[in-house]
């Protein structure tokens, strides 16, 4: 359904909610090759290599302040390793 099994993708599964729409847009803007898979109640966002979520991009789209910790309210699951999570960005990738 996603990819061929040869390219290693990383991704997050997010609740399909109002805030999530801006999150998904921010992810699409900041990452190349984003694929979306909609399932009832959730959306699966994947990309190749690494997936970055930037606070600035999310804030611009939401039109309000957004702490990276707030991402916890939307996330359902993820595939990869959370390599960085600080005040400005979250990075998910495979390490090796």
């Amino acid at each position: 359904m996603t990819g061929t099994g040869k390219v290693r993708r990383v991704g997050v599964d997010l609740q399909d909610s109002d805030d999530t729409r801006s999150l998904v847009e921010a992810i699409e803007a900041d990452n190349p090759d984003v694929e979306l898979l909609h399932m009832p109640g959730l959306v699966k966002v994947t990309t190749t290599g690494e997936l970055v979520i930037r606070r600035e991009s999310v804030e611009k789209l939401l039109g309000r302040e957004w702490e990276t910790h707030e991402f916890q309210l939307s996330i359902v699951s993820y595939s990869g390793n959370i390599a960085e999570w600080d005040d400005d960005k979250i990075v998910i990738k495979w390490e090796h």
Binding site: M1, T2, G3, G5, K6, R8, R9, V10, D13, Q15, M39, P40, G41, L42, E67, T68, H69, E70, Q72, L73, S74, I75, V76, S77, Y78, S79, G80, N81, I82, A83, E84, W85, D86, D87, W94, E95, H96
Partner: protein
Amino acid sequence: MAKLSMRERYSLLTRDLDWTPTYVDPKIVYPYTRYEGIKIHDWDSWEDPFRLTVDSYCKYQAEKDKKLYAVIDSFAQGQGHLLLTDARYLNAVKLFLQGVTPLEYQAHRHFGFLARHLDGPGPRFAALCQSIDELRHTQTEIHTISQYNKYYGGLHNWSQMHDRVWYLSVPKSFFDDGLSAGPFEFLTAISFSFEYFLTNLLFVPFMSGASFNGDLATMTFGFSAQSDESRHMTLGLGVLKFMLEQDEDNVPILQDWIDKWFWRGYRLLSLVAAMMDYMLPKKVMSWKEAFELYLEEQMLNGLFPDLEYYGIRPPRHVEQAITEKEYMSHQVYWVLYNFSHAAAFNTTIPTAEELDWLSASYPDTFDRYYRPLWDRAQQIADSGGRFFYGGLPMLCQVCQIPMGFTEPGDPTTISVRSSEFRQERYNFCSDGCKWIFDREPEKYVQAWLPVHQIYQGNCGGASIPDVLAWYGMQPGDGGEYGASPDKASWDEWHAQAAAGGAE
């Protein structure tokens, strides 16, 4: 003073507030972290990537709970249960809530134990947060149980049933196996294998199924729990990599645990496979598709190349699981169908539409091996009967599932393995379960096998009604859905609506 960064706050909480004991030997303060053979040289090198602190934990958990209970309240006020696709759907929820709610509570207790007994402050705090999360999950699931328990059967005695009922011994014995292991094996079993490796197959398609079938209550507790789950996944993967990095001697021990807990968890998920393919009136994806997406694609092609770096290979017996994706759900649901007269959920023959969906989803196996079973069941139903299996099944000594699985690659021969230990013979459903037994026979000979217990006279009597009374079930909790009180109530409520509403 400027606001501290996440990194600084986390460091202050987990490093600054910790101290090294000097009056008492650390081995006495933390007595459980050495006997399993795992060597840890530097606990401080473990960091929670979430960098969670008390303030942010409380803030976001409170917000999650507010959202969740607002939905549950409006669900209750708006008679949300009437908006389900069909009351038949609830049998999936019953199986889930009966099986999983008590596990959440056990997880709460055991992570509380780890929050005291791990040597490092980072993993201790992560375990504390998880302990509180698991209690929250227990509570939200009990609130969901209470919504449905007002109108439907099967959910009135879930706690006692967990300790007694045959199919619930599958999840119970799985978790007891983890609880009775040492802390590092528990973390590998529950945090890594279950929460990271397999959880997506349990929660994600199931909660999406709840959403698709109009079940706001389950969808909401599910997604709310799952938002904590991503933290638990992180703990699981983090703790595994931490152990692998600490000492090369840890690698073979962890490989063994990954092998064992993959198969334990995978067998447990066979109940989920049956729910997804048979118990959701509106299907989200087949078990096979979910397995390919979450297990083969994300884990075997994503995670395991990462772990290879440490000398870890994909779990033993995983090829068998891949072969079984074509037939596992069918075999397990057939067992549930045959034995639901002794269960606290109802089963029924899939509709013609569903049978066609199964044919399309399993083109290589369904029409050839499983549709004929349903055709037979339908013939019996057409002449006014209902096929239930009259005897008691033989159970696998390890996973405790009735022996209904077949030989890999041969869907017509039941697979039976056995081992002898202290002049007794023990039976298993698969190479995976036999391998697990042979590693630790002293542990698994103690298994509380529901069928053996009935034969030994420990379950209220020798007849099915005696045993069901001892299980704490009520008439109508189990059996054929078409003849169930749930269906009768559902038809009555919806007939009122069709006739212009109730008085």
